[in-house]
């Protein structure tokens, strides 16, 4: 038994068994993407206000039943989330060291990271409501009876850069860190992140920290903009919000987008793409080529001999850095091209800053790719939660009689998975095109300028969608 456990661990957690998309399906998806893009463009050319129907949303708190239910429901969910948070930390520190027998690995990587992202993108930003870090912090403050924060003002210069840095570290941990499926290591990282957040809340206040520096609040907020439910718990300055809107409507915004927020969104998109990319045969070839090139191989060797990371990890780290930098450069290039083609400045005059808003229009493609990429992982590896619910510490408990339940890998047939994945990505692309057009129509003074400005954006979107489809058509070798 012990032998089996250590062998299972050697394979790494979350092995995926996805079959690559067949060529004809990839071509069909890419073709549909192109055709639909041109159809959309033809429609935009005819009507300037095409897509504005998108903007309507309904305030659900108008209904007294929902108003009365929402608050207690949020309280219950918050309590559950705090209990799960503490339980997860406890299993990580005190439970079994086998990745599959300890709740924390499945909880953090599958249920929380993948599951919460799915929920936030498809339904609404639930993390806003249930995030245990502010809840526990506020409870502790109330118990001690001290002030909530020292009241330092959050440095404006920092903007959302702390969240960008923290998210990069997280992405590195998810994709490259070799201890990412070691329960104790995850628990330590989780506690470190929590301590940092609590420190930040103490210095700058809960809301300031959560709005700008907390990477996860930010990730789920970005995904939640795509969702049909707008969820916002009440803060000292704002009442709670619960509004229903069409998918992707939340991506249309009047707020200006700072460089740091634009960089954050691009970093998110880049890491999701890198996640798929680093399992492709092309990445394998890049790795081989890096070993063949003397200066590169020597640099990697030096780096790995002075650190705890091996050469492959270093190569992956470098590429994980280059991907977001590349995304930012391409986005900047496309923005400049948009302004050039439009031949005029935007209404407010701050052209470059104004075009940062366009990052939102890429989110639907990223969401669709994310859903397609992780759906099978959630449905297969996620099943581990059934036995783990009975035995979270891996100590041989059987609380609900589900211990020893095995995973059914045949739960989704690859064919169904293929069609759903391609349909998702194409639909995401169409939503992205519409969002970009509505944004442009609002920002540029003339119809012609708005229309012309869309050509580079459409080229970027077709490229991004085709890249996403291409990755799914690659066999997984990682």
């Amino acid at each position: 038994m012990a032998g089996a456990a250590s062998e299972a661990q050697a394979h790494g957690f979350g092995q995926r068994f996805d079959l690559p998309l067949p060529l004809w399906l990839w071509l069909t998806g890419a073709g549909a993407t192109l055709v639909l893009t041109f159809v959309a463009l033809a429609l935009f050319a005819r009507r300037r206000d095409f897509g504005t129907a998108f903007l309507h949303s309904t305030d659900l708190l108008r209904f007294s039943l929902l108003r009365r239910l929402a608050h207690p429901l949020a309280t219950v969910l918050r309590a559950i989330s705090c209990i799960l948070f503490v339980l997860t930390l406890a299993t990580g520190f005190y439970g079994n060291s086998d990745a599959y027998a300890n709740l924390i690995v499945t909880m953090v990587w599958v249920l929380w990271w993948v599951g919460m992202a799915f929920f936030c993108a498809l339904i609404g930003d639930l993390w806003e409501i249930v995030n245990p870090l502010p809840t526990l912090y506020r409870a502790a403050v109330r118990m001690i009876g001290c002030r909530e924060s020292l009241g330092w003002s959050y440095p404006a210069r920092w903007a959302a850069w702390p969240a960008v840095a923290l998210f990069f570290i997280f992405a590195w941990a998810e994709l490259i860190w070799q201890d990412k499926d070691v329960p104790r290591a995850i628990a330590t990282a989780l506690l470190a992140y929590s301590a940092l957040s609590w420190g930040g809340m103490l210095l700058f206040g809960v809301e300031a920290w959560r709005r700008q520096a907390d990477a996860f609040a930010m990730v789920f907020r970005v995904l939640g903009r795509f969702a049909p439910l707008e969820l916002r718990s009440s803060t000292p300055v704002e009442p709670a919000r619960l509004r229903l809107r069409p998918y992707a409507a939340g991506l249309l915004t009047n707020e200006p987008v700072s460089n740091s927020v634009a960089a954050f969104v691009l970093l998110m998109l880049a890491t999701v793409t890198f996640d798929g990319f680093h399992e492709t045969p092309l990445m394998d070839r890049i790795g081989t080529a890096a070993q063949m090139s003397r200066p590169v191989a020597e640099t990697l060797f030096t780096l790995s001999s002075v650190t705890a990371l091996d050469e492959t990890q270093w190569l992956n780290t470098v590429l994980l850095l280059l991907f977001p930098l590349g995304f930012v450069l391409i986005f900047r290039g496309v923005s400049a091209w948009m302004l050039g083609l439009a031949g005029e400045t935007t209404r407010s005059g701050h052209a470059q800053a104004d075009l940062n808003v366009m990052v939102w229009s890429l989110v639907p493609i990223a969401v669709a790719y994310h859903l397609a990429h992780y759906a099978s992982l959630l449905l297969t590896t996620g099943q581990f939660i059934i036995p783990l619910a009975s035995d979270p510490f891996g100590w041989g408990w059987d609380l609900f009689g589900t211990r020893g339940r095995t995973v059914d890998l045949g739960i989704v047939s690859p064919a169904v998975y293929w069609y759903v994945a391609v349909a998702l990505i194409v639909v995401g692309h169409v939503l992205a095109v519409i969002v970009a057009h509505v944004e442009a129509a609002r920002r540029f003074a003339s119809h012609r300028a708005a229309l012309m400005s869309q050509l580079p954006m459409l080229a970027l979107m077709v490229a991004y969608t085709s890249l996403s489809l291409w990755i799914m058509a690659q066999p997984i070798v990682g």
């Binding site: 394979h11 092995q15 079959l19 690559p20 890998l409 045949g410």
Partner: protein, 118 residues
């Protein structure tokens, strides 16, 4: 839409449907012979079969090793020079890696993949 373009569309859709269903038509026995040298497979690293096929992979290696077909959770011990047979019914679709089991941490790249198409 003209008659001709409609006919063409129908033909195209039929071709698509056939493309989708042709795989998985009838089950049969698929035999492969795999030679591992220095921990790497000589030749094609991905074996493609159809769901329902009876799969027989005969493995030889220049060094003793323990192979593990992930997903199906089947193990095969290979001892040179005799070939070892990895036989199973492909009743689960997907792309399944065959790993070499080594003790301790380290790089455990898959040596072989078996793709079971629906």
């Amino acid at each position: 839409m003209t008659d001709r373009s409609r006919r063409r569309l129908i033909a195209w859709m039929a071709a698509m449907a056939l493309g989708g269903t042709a795989v998985g038509a009838e089950a049969s026995t698929q035999s492969f012979s795999i030679q591992i040298v220095g921990g790497r497979v000589k030749g094609e690293e991905t074996l493609k079969v159809r769901k329902g096929d009876q799969v027989r992979v005969s493995l030889t290696s220049d060094q003793p090793m323990m192979l593990h077909l992930h997903g199906y959770e089947i193990e095969a011990k290979v001892e040179p020079p005799a070939p070892t047979l990895l036989a199973f019914k492909a009743d689960l679709a997907g792309r399944f890696p065959v790993h070499v089991h080594t003790h301790g941490a380290g790089n455990h790249r898959a040596v072989l993949f078996i793709e079971v198409h629906p």
